[in-house]
Amino acid sequence: MKVFKISQAELDNMVALWSQSRKVYRPAVGRQQQAQPDYGPGWRKAEGASPLTVPIGPAAGSVKTFLFPQPETMMTYSLKTGDPDRGLMKEPAKLTESQVVVGLRPCDARSVLLNNLPFREDPFYQANLERTVFVGFTCDESLSTCFCEQMGGSPLDSDGLDIAFSRAENGYLAEILTPKGEELMAGLNLAPAANSDITALADRRKERPGKDTAILNTMQGKDLNKLYEAPLWQPLGDSCINCGACTFICPTCYCFDIQDEVVKGSGRRIRYWDSCMFPLYSLHTTGHNPRGRKLQRTRNRFMHKLKYFPERFGPFSCVGCGRCVQDCPVNIDIREVMADLLTVE
């Protein structure tokens, strides 16, 4: 692994250089920028002209939008009269154009790995993963709503990133972690980091080891049926309004639905974000809905993240970014739900 020492000016030059040959995105900062998104809500094109600032805590938009776009075109077709290919489903050309996402935090980087578990054989997710380079920043400061360490992550972690920037004296240490990262840095004339800087970072990581699996282990030991029938769901079901805010801002919610859209004879089959909070999500063709009540839907989201997903794949399906904690209209706090679940006997 190569480690470079990089100043803020060098970082901005690098972003400028990258943006000449690829699309580079960074988090939108402030309301005005968020109102003019370039890629999904919350992301802006980075040109390197202005200094790159990464807000404390997770970016406004989660990184899943690059790998699991809203919407993803799966098929296209024509319904025009006289078109020889009328009614033929065609796969759209796979996007191969490289894109760089700059400024994600370790929580979002980890979500890329977690979503890769259910999507490991998904051609669309894999194609997007292939063409995206993640340049992240480890966290020196965190928000009061951050809880990545409880969920098995760490603020200084670099898992899931191609290049990880960490604060050092007068600039950053850039760790080049993958071949994709090396390719991006190729041809740049940069100073290798001093050993003292590298050890300082390693020491900081030792001080905050994170990656706590104690909660995960306790949760794994709980009986699913007891958790399912715990009284704690009643007040949550009462207060939840069943909007999809938590699922859409969540970096690890990956449920989708598929629909066809036709305008003036050209059609496409798209996959778009769905939410287990919506009654339609679980509605059967017969009219029966196994999760017909609010309580059942609210319960499903937390049980999926904290119990079903770990049983199937190992880790929690939550990275502790705290976006849902900040933005839930009725202040349902996953940290409180988790604490309550851990007390269920």
């Binding site: 809500p41 009462d238 207060s239 309004i241």
Partner: protein
Amino acid sequence: MPTINEKISEEIRAQAKKLLAEGTVAAVIGYASGSLPMTVKPLVVRRPEDCGKLLWNTFCVLNLANFLPEVLKSVEPPRGPRDPKPEGPLPKVAIMATGCWSRNIVVQIQEHQVERERVVVMGVGSRGMVSRRKVEALFAGREILAVEELDHDLIVRGSGFEEKINRWSVVRDNCQTCTHPDPLLVDVRIGEPVSDRKNPNPFKQVDELEAKSAAERWGWFTSEFATCIRCYACRNACPLCYCPTCFVDDAKPQWVGKSLDATDTGLFHVMRAYHCAGRCTDCGACESVCPMGINMRLLTKKLNKDVLNLYGIEAGMQPDSPLPLTTYKINDPQKFIVTEAGAGKEGE
């Protein structure tokens, strides 16, 4: 000395406990404290001993009437979808209500979603609710860790700072322009009544936009809704939105596409607002719950303005008269009809 809202909270707890203990109501809909500064949790209390959790403060932005039909249903004895309604009166539910929320309950009664005799309204005069976003905007880049509420000020604390700000300056736009802060329906009065406010022009924001050109308004519309993530929090926080199947979920015909497309998002917001025409009380819940901070309330405010100007009706103010779109007058204005002499924009 306790603040006004602390006194109100105390009264709410006492009254709720009394109503539950006497068996007058089966549940009380109110608020409990939240896990973050400036947040509260809606809470349904079903046992007198849980009433201690209830509170009232200046951050109660979500409209509790939204929960009323569902809670009413939850306290009924369980029965199948085809079983007849049980004989005798059904259990009652008590609910906290300010001016706009009580008007929403009136609309719910007019639309037969709620039966008046099953609701006990605990009326609270509203002093205006604070917009969390406005406070956060004042402290951009600094995380707020605690906010203490005084009668006329807020004390905002974070790591390394403590500032006092005027409460009214960060009250939500809809509360600042509100003219009927006191509840219309009151079964149990909490605190002191608040008198109607005089507001020379409650539709100032709408007027400002109307004065612009069509191109400028289109520019405003497209940029305002560009950040929408289609989470439907605005729809689900609204006490008027109770359709079992929303028009966005119709697949055949598909009125609105469901992914992030500027046209689909715009259409969703126009239709959502339009469905609230003549029913919206400008409670501001939609705007308060939006995770992206979109000011979609301006659309319903525009409709409220037209309904008032053209038909002289404010939603929920007249429990005994029909809703504006379920009635008509023979001589309703119709300048918008192209064949009319002097045809043009309606209401000008």
